[in-house]
Amino acid sequence: MKRLIITAAFAFSFLISCAGVSMKTPEGFALFDKEKNYKAVSADGIYLTGRIVKDKGSDRNSDLSTWESEVSRSLLSKGYTSVSKISMTGSAGDARYSEYEVIFNGESYAYAVFLSRNGNSLFIVESGGRKDRFSARRNDIVEAMKTAYIR
């Protein structure tokens, strides 16, 4: 019995350490499948990453709009301009998508943040790249973000 408990504890801790965000990789993106966190990059320099940001602490249960406001407040103070904020339903349940614009290296860049949660864990998916290139892929990126979940 004791051995069973120890084995179960090891298996559980292994599962926790392997937990990460997974999603459908949009067309034209190359997936870095050996990374702990989800990472994909397109040939024209659009980045897509996903990771768990809160799976412990009393604040993990804060509602999504609180996290969205916190993210927005921080980005706006760094010079980002808010373009859109959308509430949506993804594979994991309620989600918030917000998109920003910023001047980076002398060019206009688009930056998008997708926030959602699986159970008690909060996860985030970021995407960004040159604005003109991002715009061409926006729909695919949003659709991929909707499929994100914690594996």
Binding site: K39, V41, Y47, T49, V53, K54, D59, E70, V71, R73, S74, L75, L76, S77, K78, G79, Y80, V102, I103, F104, G106, Y109, Y111, V113, I124, E126, S127, G128
Partner: protein, 204 residues
Amino acid sequence: MIYSKFAYRVILCCLFFGTSFYSPVLFAEERSDDAKVYSFTITVPDADEGMNALVSLARARKGVVIFYSPSRVEFRVPASGAESCIESIRSSGYVTDESTSASDVGEQSAVIRSQINVKKEYLSRLYALTEESDLGGTLTAEQEIEKAIAETDRLKSSLRTLERQKKFAQFTIYLSGPQFGQEKVYSRWPFVNALGIDNLVQEN
């Protein structure tokens, strides 16, 4: 004797008035080979509007925005549109500080051009040497040719950078106003502070 006194006076007058007439002209002269850097500090009633107006101004003048933050913007515009740009900046807010600096790009360009010419002559001599010398000599000459070509390319690249500087005027504008009490908002959650396009691009 009279003539020598007259000549002496004429020389003195020329020396005195000549310098006083010519010196301001010399110092005030605007050289076309100068790379100009303008700096302004302006106070605006609305930070976001002021910054958006400046970015739009740079783009309308076919400029390139190099850096952008809530309190500072840096951009380059073609030198021909610099004057109208200055007027627009002055009218966009209350100017509290203004400065202009110019560096003589023409002189540096001339030095680099002469260095390129020297390298070209050296290269032609090395090529001639390869035709006349034996195998060992040819190999040594080829190594030297390789070095000289690399050096010439480096000089040409520096020359192009200087030419570009001459064609563009650079502006740095600092904004101040009632909304600038706090600049960056730091979150108590590190993951929020780490968000942004710079981290996204650099981490990958």
